[in-house]
């Protein structure tokens, strides 16, 4: 579904991502892990078109999206969340989801005017559905900036889902969450798979990654150093060294 081929991003002399080959299959939940600064977030930003790619290519469903700007990527069906929450704080919870209905499907269904004026019926029901899914229905008229941290994290996920994406890139969705919240997030991610969505999970919280993903890729210094099932990754020597340094005994 998503294919990265020799993807590189250099910031000056820094090779944030360096010749990364990686593929995501339809309906999969894959993890992308690695120590701080290993290029995980940069990879997400490259896929979404936030930064221009230095070299290499990205294909989504066989279509080259290497140079597609963010709004085009979203229209094609790729949505993301941010590592540091980036909500529209001055908009209500409800409006945060409302403005995110921009997929190709939405465009076609509602037409130009319907989309801009806001649409009744289906548009509203769809927002309600996502609020329900993220347990935010009671907060719908609250300003996003007034929500608690956990609620803001949930709203970010809901906002990404409001675009009805097929591929979801989650950039550290569990950062700062307590164990209970991480558990709820894991349930939510699994149920997304049930809805036929494909998820790429960039995460530091290992209990989440090991718990929900089927396959994990490990990055270090912008390169992929390992790929495999969670148990394979846990046993991998190169991965341990990347995280703990060489010579570490566990």
């Amino acid at each position: 579904m998503l294919e990265l081929k020799g993807l590189s991003k250099h910031f000056g002399g820094v090779r944030a991502v360096d010749g990364l080959d990686f593929a995501v299959r339809e309906g999969e939940i894959v993890g992308l892990i690695g120590p701080n600064g290993s290029g995980k977030s940069t990879t997400v930003n490259l896929i979404c078109g936030v930064f221009p790619v230095t070299s290499g290519g990205i294909a989504f469903r066989g279509r080259d999206i290497t140079r597609a700007p963010p709004h085009v990527c979203l229209a094609l069906g790729i949505a993301r969340t941010f590592q540091n929450i980036r909500l529209f704080n001055e908009l209500t919870v409800w409006q945060n989801l409302w403005v995110a209905q921009n997929s190709a499907k939405h465009r076609k269904q509602r037409g130009f005017l319907g989309r801009w004026v806001g649409g009744r019926g289906e548009a509203r029901r769809s927002v309600e559905r996502h609020l329900e899914f993220s347990a935010l229905a009671k907060k719908r008229d609250e300003l996003a900036g007034n929500l608690s941290f956990g609620e803001q994290r949930r709203l970010e996920l809901a906002r990404a889902l409001a675009a009805e994406p097929e591929l979801l890139l989650l950039d550290e969705p569990a950062a700062g969450m307590n164990a209970e919240e991480v558990g709820q997030l894991a349930d939510r991610i699994r149920s997304l798979q049930g809805q036929g969505k494909t998820v790429v999970l960039v995460e530091h919280v290992m209990e989440l990654v090991m718990g929900v993903t089927e396959r994990i890729a490990v990055l270090n210094f912008g390169r992929k150093i390992a790929e495999g099932s969670p148990s394979e990754i846990q046993a991998n020597r190169a991965v341990r060294e990347a995280y703990l340094g060489t010579g570490a005994k566990i």
Partner: protein, 302 residues
Amino acid sequence: MDYLYGLAQTIGVHTILGLSAYVVLQTGQVTMAQAAFYAVGAYVAAMLTTVWGVNILLAIPAAAAVACALAGLAGFPALRFKGLMLVVATMALGEAVREFFFNFDYQIAKGDLKVGPAGAEGFRQIRYFYERGWTTAEVAGFIWVFVIGIMALLWWMDRSRIGAVLRAVGEDELAAQSVGINLTAVKVSAFALGGAIAGVGGALYAHYTTHVEHTAFGVVMATFAIAYPILGGLSSVFGTLIAVLFIQGLLIQGLPILIGGELRNLLFGLLILLAMNIRPRGLIDERVARMLRGLFVRSRNA
């Protein structure tokens, strides 16, 4: 009584000026070019009615269209600038337009009178209302039809998805892009709409003052244009109206009646500072705006 109608005219055109910047500010773009679009509207409409004898009801949309087109064109290069850079860039555009009108000479003879813009002297004898015997009250009423129309349009926009999208762009461009909003389209459209509104305001301004010149459309007017919506708050169109009432009505017209002399100028600035300190999010902030909305309509989502 005529004094009050005159005041209503001033407040009306200044509200339109403020609202033209309101739309652009909502997208997070601080524009100092509104005075330029206002000037374009003023000159285009005045030339149409005075030089070519066009009906004012056609001249106003034409002025809006020209100002809109210019603003749309200005919107593209403006995309590359942010924050202070954009302020400087739009200010430069404003000055360029002002300089253009400083040098703009196009007069024709009409009876024993020469009419049309005459460079530094400005465009005198815009006698459309005068020739048709409109009273001050009628002109004020005419202006307020447009003020109310524009306010209604923006009020509706604020409540529709467009308003939410404009605010989303203003708040966080990266997040807005990532939820699929086309930044270029939204920012340029906001610029164009702001230009069109300024064009209408300029057209009305030219006709009620009967005389425009380039000095009026300088940095001071551009500053007022953004000061109204910033002081009034970007949550509701009523904020801009209230800020205009506060500055034009109370501070400029009201204070001299209450207090004479030097003290007034000092107080002018102090009162604006005070207002901004007490209400840092604008006179009409989101909380008040929601209350206002509640008065008119029961929340659809409640």
